[in-house]
């Protein structure tokens, strides 16, 4: 359902991010990057809300809100 | 013969007492001379809806009873020297996590495998100091089959009341002898159960104590209080802390809950002490020999009496101090080469003469030997 995808929001909880880079590496759309040891969204438009970043973030610092 | 009057072995009386106290879980690993406690538990527990499990070793047995106690069942394990040594790490866990449980140690000849089928009282100091770090402990030691029944119940009661592991120190003589016992009516047995929290679930702090009380109320797993338990130093919420203040507070409370309640915990028997000039301090089976010896001494006109610690830890320091002011000599008789005598000496040494008399060869000390010692003085 396309709506579900657009309903979700990509959230970063910076104070929990330890900058491991795992989400950056395994994001299929290169949405993310590290800056000053923390994750950052560099290309939100490309995000397909696949949730792989959330799936593999060891620190629960990135996730999609509004999952249905 | 009254139905309730029976000839019973010490180990059997221990199980009967445990079940009367509400034991519903036993985990153990066989070892002479404690094995009958496991065997009889295996037989009796399912009849009262309780559970028995033979674990892979003593370490696992100790762990299992802690797990079961945290889940709400009164739990016990039984062992002897080598197994008691193995349980020490987890006894320390029960101390710091404040998990009620009863550990029976039927003492046999040590060290190591030693004399597996012979009696000894060589684990007295180990019962106090066997696990690492400062920790609270209560240990009781019976002198008869009936007292084994009673003290097993008392072990559970103290354990539940103070949330500490309680050690019941038997010796092979008491464990294996059979004598007359009259099992009291259920109604005449006092049973103490752990205090349960009254908080709303969200508010429960598993290690928080209120007011004067030093013992926190205890929830069980599965009741809705989703609390955390750890062997690390922890604060009132149960979560680990590295704060020296938290550490100090916790350890002090653990020690204090016994220290402050010593009067409630300590029990002892006095026999012929009123006019005694020589006091014997003896416990367990040795106290029986001592009684005979005292009777013999009295017959000879020697004023001897017995102070028998029933609670062996914490030690009855005030009473022994009192005693030492009244008598000339205290003889500590124990089936080892000198353990409890150190403590008695510490307490009484400044007031009277303290002598140790011990033997560790696998045989019960006889009344004659004690009498000789009395006569020597």
């Amino acid at each position: 359902m396309p709506t579900s995808i657009t309903n979700k929001e990509l959230i970063i909880k910076k104070d929990w991010c330890k900058g491991c880079g795992i989400c950056v590496e395994f994001c299929p759309k290169k949405v993310l990057a590290l800056k000053d040891g923390k994750v950052e969204i560099i290309n939100l438009d490309a995000c397909i809300k696949c949730g792989l970043c959330e799936l593999r973030c060891p620190d629960y610092a990135i996730f999609l809100r509004g999952e249905i | 013969m009254d139905k309730k009057v029976k000839l019973m072995q010490g180990n059997e009386a221990c199980v009967e007492g445990a079940i009367a106290a509400g034991m519903r879980f036993f985990a153990g690993y066989p070892i002479t001379p404690s094995t009958e406690i496991a065997e009889i538990s295996a037989q009796k527990l399912p009849r009262v809806g309780g559970k028995f499990i033979q674990m892979e070793d003593e370490i696992a047995s100790m762990a299992a009873i802690i797990g079961a106690s945290l889940t709400g069942l009164k739990s016990m394990t039984a062992t002897s020297g080598p197994g008691f040594s193995l349980k020490q790490e987890n006894i320390g866990y029960a101390s710091i996590a404040e998990v009620p449980c009863v550990i029976v140690n039927v003492q046999r000849g040590g060290p190591s495998t030693g004399l597996p089928t012979s009696p000894a009282q060589g684990d007295v100091m180990q019962a106090r100091w066997g696990t690492h770090g400062d920790h609270p402990i209560i240990a009781l030691t019976p002198s008869s089959v009936r007292e084994t029944f009673d003290l097993t119940i008392r072990s559970f009661n103290l354990s539940e009341k103070y949330r500490v592991p309680v050690i019941l120190l038997l010796d092979e003589v008491i464990a294996h002898m059979r004598e007359k016992i009259e099992i009291p009516n259920e109604d005449d047995i006092e049973i103490i159960n752990r205090e349960k929290p009254e908080n709303d679930i969200g508010e429960y702090r598993p290690y928080e104590t209120k007011g004067e009380r030093l013992v926190p109320p205890m929830a069980s797993y599965g009741e809705g209080y989703r609390f955390h338990v750890t062997g690390l130093i922890h604060d009132e919420t149960g979560f680990p802390s590295n704060s020296p203040i938290v550490a100090e507070k916790l350890i002090k409370r653990l020690i204090d809950k016994i220290e402050v309640n010593k009067e409630d915990i300590i029990s002892f028997e006095e026999y012929n002490l009123d006019d005694a000039e020589i006091a014997i301090v003896a416990f367990g089976s040795t106290a029986r020999s001592a009684k005979s010896a005292i009777d013999m001494a009295r017959d000879m006109g020697i004023k001897a009496g017995l102070f028998r610690p029933i609670t062996i830890w914490p030690i009855a320091d005030e009473e022994i101090d009192e005693l030492s002011k009244k008598v000339k000599t205290i003889i500590v008789v124990e089936m080892n080469l000198g353990q409890y005598v150190y403590e008695v000496e510490r307490i009484a040494g400044k007031n009277c003469n303290v002598i140790g008399f011990g033997r560790a060869n696998g045989e019960l000390i006889t009344p004659d030997e004690i009498l000789d010692k009395i006569k020597e003085v």
Binding site: - | T117, M177, E179, K180, L364
Partner: protein, 177 residues
């Protein structure tokens, strides 16, 4: 007999002497006496004990072990040789017919075909211990015979009551003949 009587029942492992000791003690309890039963073990718990001790008394019993016994039952030569020296002056020694008793003064010796009675008359050597109890009672009359009969019936395995009853009576007869 004095108020306190100390028994030592000895023989080979497997002869059921522990059970015999227990029954004797329980009979004493039925008579409202005190009794303590103890035993000795081999290495670890394995192997039957070869010695069972019973103290019967009107008073409290403190020291629970038997040093010098008033009565010694010895079903084997080895047991007799080992324990005879700890029989009191004027004590009672009960032995199986196979046992040869070395000279000792001041003891009363009773010699009966205990093992043979069990295996030949009763037809089951497993009941030697009960035959022995019969003999002991016949010789010492330490408890009331009815108490002892009851105590036996209560302890022996279900289905063997008759056998054991007979064993007891045969033993009792041996001593009373």
């Amino acid at each position: 007999m004095s108020k306190k009587v100390e028994f030592r029942l000895s023989g080979a492992g497997g002869q059921g002497l522990i059970l015999a000791g227990i029954i004797l003690a329980e009979a004493a309890l039925r008579d409202n006496k005190n009794a303590v039963q103890t035993q000795s073990y081999g290495p670890e718990a394995r192997g039957g004990a070869s010695k069972s001790e019973v103290i019967i008394s009107d008073d409290d019993i403190n020291y629970p072990k038997v040093r010098e016994s008033d009565v010694l039952l010895a079903l084997t030569q080895a047991a007799c040789d080992k324990y005879m020296q700890n029989l009191k002056e004027n004590g009672i020694l009960i032995v199986d017919e196979n046992v040869e008793v070395k000279d000792r003064d001041n003891i009363k010796i009773y010699r009966y075909p205990i093992l043979r009675t069990a295996s030949e008359i009763i037809g089951n050597k497993m009941v030697s211990n009960i035959v022995a109890l019969g003999v002991i009672q016949g010789v010492t009359n330490i408890v009331s015979t009815d108490s002892l009969r009851e105590a036996i019936l209560e302890r022996v395995p279900r289905g063997t009551e008759e056998l054991n009853k007979k064993a007891f009576e045969e033993g009792f007869k041996l001593a009373n003949n």
